[in-house]
């Protein structure tokens, strides 16, 4: 897969619009992975993952506008920090407390947060109100500026691979084992003395960090960030990506993002289908939810990858052939 991803930009070559699309897909994959960390790994239904994505995007856009600063080594960690802190705050509010919250409360809480933020931003003149912020300062490394195209593609690819490997490490670590236990029987884990909600809050914050990173890249790449980038619309799109690909696999959401975005792009050219594409998307989502909880590509991704393996690998251990 990594090979395919490496070859893609050269194969597309001349078609710069397709390279842009591919970069966009990589960035949105970050959002999908972020959602998978919440839902697939720790069983938090987050309908507000785009909130962290959007807020981080706005923050780096404002840093570019008001401080005229966009050095890669500083702004990307800043975006991660923003995502981490914001998600941490949310987690502290929604998850921690005397009584464990119901799963519905968390789901609706994240949805509400995302919706409220969208409404706030779309009425706030300082951040461009409904028009959002455009012509964002380009991402820089030293004096080099990342414009759309090959360089940005590889930057996004490197980030995605790092995030994927990090998330995978998290999943297969001892923490991942605790999370897997929590998914199976939260009460029993609580009886073992694990502070279940604290683990959830931790993973939720980390997921927010990944979303923040994605949001920053998105806003540099598009040169634009708007209220819609933090609302429930994008949040639920992330859910769709993840469920398409199969939640809990980390690679599934990436494949889901690729599938959905590429299909949307291809079908947008055909007028008859373009009109009904959202309907088809909804029907497919319904089918996935009803019949194939592992996701569409659950057929392709090995069970071992899905469930994860813990402790030492066997020396001959191939890991399902789906790295990167």
């Amino acid at each position: 897969m990594l090979l395919v991803a490496l070859v893609v930009p050269f194969a597309l070559g001349e078609r710069t619009d397709l390279v842009t699309l591919a970069t966009n897909v990589l960035i949105l994959s970050l959002l999908a992975i972020s959602f998978d960390l919440c839902w697939g790994l720790s069983g938090i239904m987050s309908f507000g993952q785009a909130l962290f994505f959007g807020v981080a995007g706005y923050v780096i856009a404002l840093v570019g506008r008001d401080l005229e600063f966009s050095q890669l080594w500083a702004v990307l960690p800043l975006a991660m920090l923003v995502g981490l802190l914001l998600a941490g705050l949310f987690a502290a509010f929604l998850l921690l407390g005397r009584k464990p919250p119901t799963i519905i409360f968390v789901a609706l809480g994240t949805l509400t947060g995302s919706y409220a933020a969208e409404r706030l931003v779309s009425g706030w003149q300082y951040v461009g109100a409904g028009n959002g912020l455009s012509s964002i300062k380009l991402l820089q490394l030293g004096t080099y500026e990342f414009v759309e195209g090959m360089a940005f593609y590889f930057l996004a690819l490197i980030v995605l691979v790092l995030v994927y490997l990090g998330a995978r490490f998290l999943k297969q670590s001892q923490l991942g084992l605790v999370l897997a236990g929590m998914r199976q029987n939260e009460e029993r884990l609580a009886f073992f003395g694990y502070r279940v909600q604290l683990f959830k809050a931790l993973v939720f914050s980390l997921a927010g960090m990944v979303a923040g990173l994605g949001g920053a890249l998105y806003s540099y790449h598009q040169g634009f960030i708007g209220p819609g980038n933090m609302g429930p619309g994008l949040s639920t799109t992330a859910v769709i990506y993840c469920l398409f690909g199969g939640s809990g696999t980390l690679i599934g959401p990436v494949l889901g993002t690729v599938a959905v975005e590429v299909l949307t792009y291809v079908l947008a050219d055909i007028d008859a289908i373009k009109r009904i594409w959202p309907v088809v998307l909804g029907l497919v989502l319904l089918a996935v939810v009803m019949f194939q909880p592992k996701g569409f590509l659950g057929l392709l991704v090995s069970d071992r990858e899905r469930i994860g393996s813990y402790g030492r690998r066997r020396p001959d251990g191939q890991d399902g052939g789906s790295g990167g």
């Binding site: 919706y115 409220a116 009425g123 469920l243 989502l285």
Partner: protein, 294 residues
């Protein structure tokens, strides 16, 4: 001279109170169906906004084909009850055991409905005129007739629903199944039939709400989604599993949403409603009303 100034201030206050009341009525009407479904089956119906949309669209279809809008308003609940029944039989019933899956599934249903209607409307906004235009002047204060109709209808629907649940034998079965579904089944009450019926009823209420509010807002594919988050919060705020809870919750959220813009700047008022409601739910997760009675 002084007297008339004071009278003006009075009339502004009365008008404001009436506007808040009218918006509360809209919220209660929308939330009632959502709350009943959430209480009975424990699922939060993300397609509820689209049921509202379909109710509004029914009125539009009736009006544009030359029939009276009144016929559309009467037809909307019936159409939605049928749609709700079919959906429950085919799809929704699979979700009862898993509330999160239900959210995703109903979201998908909502997406499908919304996009179909968007396609049918061609992305345009359609305005529907009020079936009863004009104003009603009482003590020198003007009230919109249509908003008055909405307030009265809502009061009637709430009262009728309560009487139905509290005084009829079917209502008793509903309350029984809510309190203990297993025992209800053991007593020979068919909970599957009851669930289908409840879902259809909730959908019908959403349809009626959509039909009544469409003259106030322009008809677009997103007419229902703008209320959805507020409606969810209302149900959480009031307490799932009760009849009064969601109604009270809707009154609180509706009152805040309509009243806060007068107290703080509108940009902040909108998100503030959500923040306040979320904090209250966090502090009191069981809702206003705790008794498990519908």
């Amino acid at each position: 001279m002084r007297r008339s100034v004071r009278c003006d201030v009075m009339s502004i206050e009365v008008k404001l109170a009436f506007d808040v009341l009218a918006f509360i009525s809209v919220m209660v009407l929308i939330v009632l169906g959502l709350g009943i479904i959430a209480s009975m089956m424990g699922i939060f119906n993300f397609a509820h906004g689209e049921f509202v949309l379909l109710g509004a669209y029914t009125v539009y279809l009736f009006e544009s084909s030359g029939l009276s809008a009144w016929a559309g308003i009467l037809a909307a609940p019936v159409v939605l009850a049928l749609i709700g029944l079919v959906l429950e039989r085919t799809v929704i019933r699979r979700f009862y055991a898993a509330p999160i899956i239900a959210m995703l599934g109903t979201y998908a249903i909502g997406l499908v409905i919304r996009e179909i209607v968007r396609g049918l409307l061609g992305g345009h906004y359609k305005s529907i005129s009020e079936p009863l235009p004009g104003v009603l002047t009482v003590f020198g204060v003007d009230f919109s007739v249509w908003r008055t109709v909405i307030v009265l209808t809502t009061a009637f629907i709430v009262a009728a629903t309560w009487l139905f649940l509290a005084r009829t034998s079917v209502g008793l079965q509903v309350r029984g199944s809510l309190e203990n579904p297993n025992l209800a089944r053991a007593c020979g009450i068919s909970t599957t039939t009851l669930y289908a019926f409840t879902f259809a009823f909730g959908a019908a209420l959403a349809g009626l709400a959509g039909a009544l509010i469409v003259p106030l807002y322009q008809l677009s594919a997103d007419i229902g989604t703008r209320f959805l988050v507020q409606a969810f919060l209302s149900v959480m705020l009031g307490g799932v599993g009760t009849f009064e809870g969601p109604v009270l919750g809707a009154a609180a959220v509706g009152g805040m949403a309509a009243g806060l813009p007068w107290l703080v700047i509108p940009v902040l008022a909108d998100p503030l409603v959500f923040v306040i409601a979320l904090i209250i739910v966090k502090l009191r997760p069981q809702g206003f009303i705790t008794q498990g009675r519908l």
